[in-house]
Symmetry: C2
Subunit: 259 residues, 2 copies
């Protein structure tokens, strides 16, 4: 007899990742659920990093911080295991990017603390439903805007950029304002130089020579910001999601936003 | 020659408190500026308390956490001194309420960390401007709703209660949703028993026998929640604001809310 258990789309996705059947990106996948970036640090670094997130809520909107040594995000995805339930992980040692892994059970320690940081991948789906077409490409760029330091954690704000028409930019501003736990409203619209963003040399995405006709760049604070800050702080070991390979929580995006 | 310096209403208020000229409450005073509750703990307790606030954002919306030993809230009120710039302080020792003081310079230590937690006093003024009359009285009540624990910090949710007509409750829900750093939207409206609130025995306010005709009770998460949690944790020393005697930041309430 086969017992059918009703699993949500989020649970199914995580199980596939746990089994190694899902190793690809999560962008535009499992729509409707809050996606998160992952940062795992040692407990000794957790207070300063938590303070850094508190001081920079647009870049580092915290969805959950796990208890020390506990790999289960009990509040946002009970039963999940952050050591196995992401499709791909990026490992950093002493501030230097080293290997990528499919699971990180061997690296998890008794003093590991996991930070789940809301991702803008969450609102791409909501934008599409609001009539703002899916961005063909999302750029990630450095800026010259400083973040507010906390202890050893500091650095510039990293942003994502999407092309939008002016009317799309207005809708996107209204809509993303409702998602404060997923970076919220844009931090800038228009001239990239005003925030020191160099379209010719993005961190992620193809270099841009000219802004296309009829659209303007719209910038959101990006979850790469805390990763970059953590890198400058050179922790002995830092585990993160691989870019675009987020953690799918059980939280419904439409419930985790403001009316 | 007298050099006139343009001081904001918030700066003037804090200076009067520092000089001991203002010792009364801050409710409905200095409208337009974000008011905060204060909790000061030792650094050794700060991580767990910060985590508690992160896990209970409606009750404990953090506006600022100071660097260890630094009594200046550099981000929300540069130049202010949290040891002197509140009108009145309440001191707790080993979880027991002891003295009230006008300033706490003698109690501030090198390992003191101050938490500024957004207060609903901030939105009372906005409610009035939106046509919701000033509440004659604001009750503070315990509930049977648990908060999410973090280490030693745990306890039930404490709420404020205001009487409103149904249409006022709707306006108040819309308006306070825009103030996520000041407790945000109500957590309940209507029957107090559903959340275990006993109107006959409030923590603050006169006991209520019957709900007046034509109004319903509207409940918001309250900044007394983290104070109560900190009391259960029995820290050796905890400094807080005296009830109703908040800290006035430089932050404009209308800028510190969502569109």
């Amino acid at each position: 007899m086969v017992v059918e258990t009703a699993m949500s789309g989020a649970q199914q996705a995580r199980l596939a990742m746990r089994r190694g059947e899902w190793t690809g990106t999560t962008a535009f996948k499992v729509p409707g659920y809050v996606q998160c970036n992952l940062v795992v640090l040692a407990e000794s670094e957790a207070y300063e990093f938590l303070l850094y997130c508190q001081r920079n809520p647009k870049a580092c909107p915290l969805v959950e911080v796990t208890d020390c040594g506990v790999p289960e995000p009990r509040l946002s995805a009970p039963g999940a295991d952050l050591r196995t339930d992401l499709p791909r992980y990026a490992i950093f040692r002493d501030g230097i990017r080293s290997e990528e892994l499919g699971e990180v059970r061997a690296l998890w320690r008794e003093d590991s603390v996991a930070f789940l940081i809301g991702s803008s991948l969450t609102f791409d789906d909501a934008l599409e439903r609001a009539g703002v077409p899916k961005s063909e490409e999302v750029w990630v760029l450095n800026t010259n805007l400083p973040t507010v330091p906390a202890g050893r954690f500091e650095g510039s704000l990293v942003v994502t950029m999407r092309w939008m028409t002016p009317s799309e930019a207005i809708i996107a501003t209204q809509l993303t304002s409702r998602f404060p736990f997923n970076h919220g409203a844009p931090i800038h619209v228009g001239d990239p130089h005003e925030i020191g963003a160099e379209l010719a040399s993005p961190l992620v995405g193809d270099p841009v020579e000219n802004i296309p006709e009829g659209v303007m760049p719209v910038f959101w604070a990006c979850g790469v910001t805390p990763q970059q800050a953590a890198l400058l702080a050179k922790p002995e070991l830092m585990i993160t999601h691989a870019p675009g390979h987020g953690f799918i929580t059980d939280l419904k995006a439409d419930q985790f936003c403001l009316p």
